[in-house]
Amino acid sequence: MAGGILTLTSSNFDETVKSASTPIIVDFWAEWCGPCKAIAPVLSEIAAEQAGKVTIAKLNVDDHGDIAQRFGVMSIPTLLVFDKGEMKMKMVGAKGKSQLLAEIAEFI
């Protein structure tokens, strides 16, 4: 799915994160969260521009709260970066594109 955004659920989360061929950034979000909506276009752009280097995925905390709870997500948007199935980084709060790219630079 080059350039697209994956949708993660409680049932496909572990498998997807483990088998991803690139580092994967998971966006924990919900419909009612304004800042989550604000970063959605930023993530779409990054997904398109960095296709093949990094994978972007979304997880709705309303529907899949168990995953959010497992990673101690208490504030959204939270972005978790996984590499080879391992959680490497946790970023809390919305950010602009340039700041976000700078923070994930080591994974690209």
Partner: protein
């Protein structure tokens, strides 16, 4: 990189003030460029403080109320309809020492004949040493984003104004108990909000108190309170902390450039939007520490656009 084009007006910030200025400037054929800011979980973001609120009940024209983010989207659409253009980034530097003025977004420079400053204000945090550690782990700057994670838990809201009570009321949807920590023995909030807080069985008000300590290993587990009259200390076991104790203006960009009050708010000439630099205008919360309402911000944004249009005309 320098863009050769000289804009008529650049508007910095995109809350009710900036977007109203954009609507008026656009309708005056000034084709304003709005540098609207970038996504953030604080109120320093495109759309401003209303982006973190839920129901807005006091904006005229919406008898049933309107959601804050929806209202700001409508403001923005209205400005775009008249050909305002937008850059979704933050201004990083300004040079108002000569005309045309220079405005930078990172290494991109824009030239403009005039500037409207509407960068607003952002929420103050408590200023405690270990505060950062708990951000995203119990301490939140956005009740509407994070209230959901406190279902069935006990939490604290700090503050006695309308924003604090709005947050407390919203959080009662999730929390079993919301303790409102108020520094004085009165609430600053409007009478209608005070009554709602006092009538809500889940809200408990702790008067004359300040949060002075935060406890917890990896997550917040409690807060320490100090009685502001007796100095007595106590502890409250809570998993969530929301802070609404006031605002500071987003004026760091203009230090040493524009005249400011001691508290950092921009100074404008009484009854107008003129700053100390001809061609630079200010509107909204960045220059208003008295009213701070969406509707007053919008009104002052209109003033700034009209002042700016007349000033530009006088330069020809």
């Amino acid at each position: 990189m320098t863009n050769e084009k000289i804009h008529e007006v650049i508007i910095i910030g995109s809350g009710p003030a900036g977007l109203t200025a954009a609507i008026y400037a656009a309708r005056a054929n000034l084709t304003p460029l709005v540098i609207e800011g970038e996504p953030s979980s604080t109120s320093d973001q495109p759309g401003g403080q209303l982006m973190l609120t839920t129901e807005v009940e006091n904006f005229p024209g919406f008898p049933e109320g309107v959601m804050g983010p929806e209202l700001m989207l409508k403001f923005r659409e209205q400005a775009a309809r008249f050909n305002a253009t937008f850059i979704t980034e933050k201004v990083t530097k300004v040079d108002f020492s000569q005309r045309p003025f220079k405005v930078w977004v990172r290494d991109e420079m824009y030239l403009t004949r005039s500037v409207i400053v509407s960068t607003g204000a952002q929420s103050l945090m408590l200023g405690l040493d270990n505060e950062k550690k708990y951000y995203g782990h119990g301490l939140s700057s956005c009740a509407t984003c994070d209230g959901f994670f406190f279902k069935g838990q006990e939490i604290v809201v700090v503050g006695g104004g309308d924003s604090a009570i709005e947050e407390a009321l919203f959080l009662t949807k999730f929390a079993t108990k919301v303790t409102l920590v108020v520094r004085r023995n009165v609430l600053r909030a409007s009478k209608i909000m005070q009554a709602r807080a006092k009538n809500n069985p889940k809200i408990h008000i702790k008067w004359n108190s300040q949060v002075t300590e935060l406890f917890g290993d990896t997550k917040l587990t409690g807060v320490g309170l100090t009685d502001s009259v007796t100095g007595e200390k106590s502890k409250l076991d809570v998993t969530g902390l929301f802070v609404a104790i006031g605002h500071r203006p987003n004026t760091d960009l203009f230090k040493g450039v524009l005249d400011m009050e001691d508290n950092g708010y921009l100074k404008t000439k009484l009854g107008s939007s003129y700053t100390n630099i001809a061609g630079v205008f200010a509107c909204g919360d960045v220059q208003d520490h008295t009213y701070r309402q969406a509707v007053t911000a919008a009104g002052s944004g209109c003033m700034a656009a009209i002042d700016c249009e007349r000033w530009l005309e006088s330069q020809h």
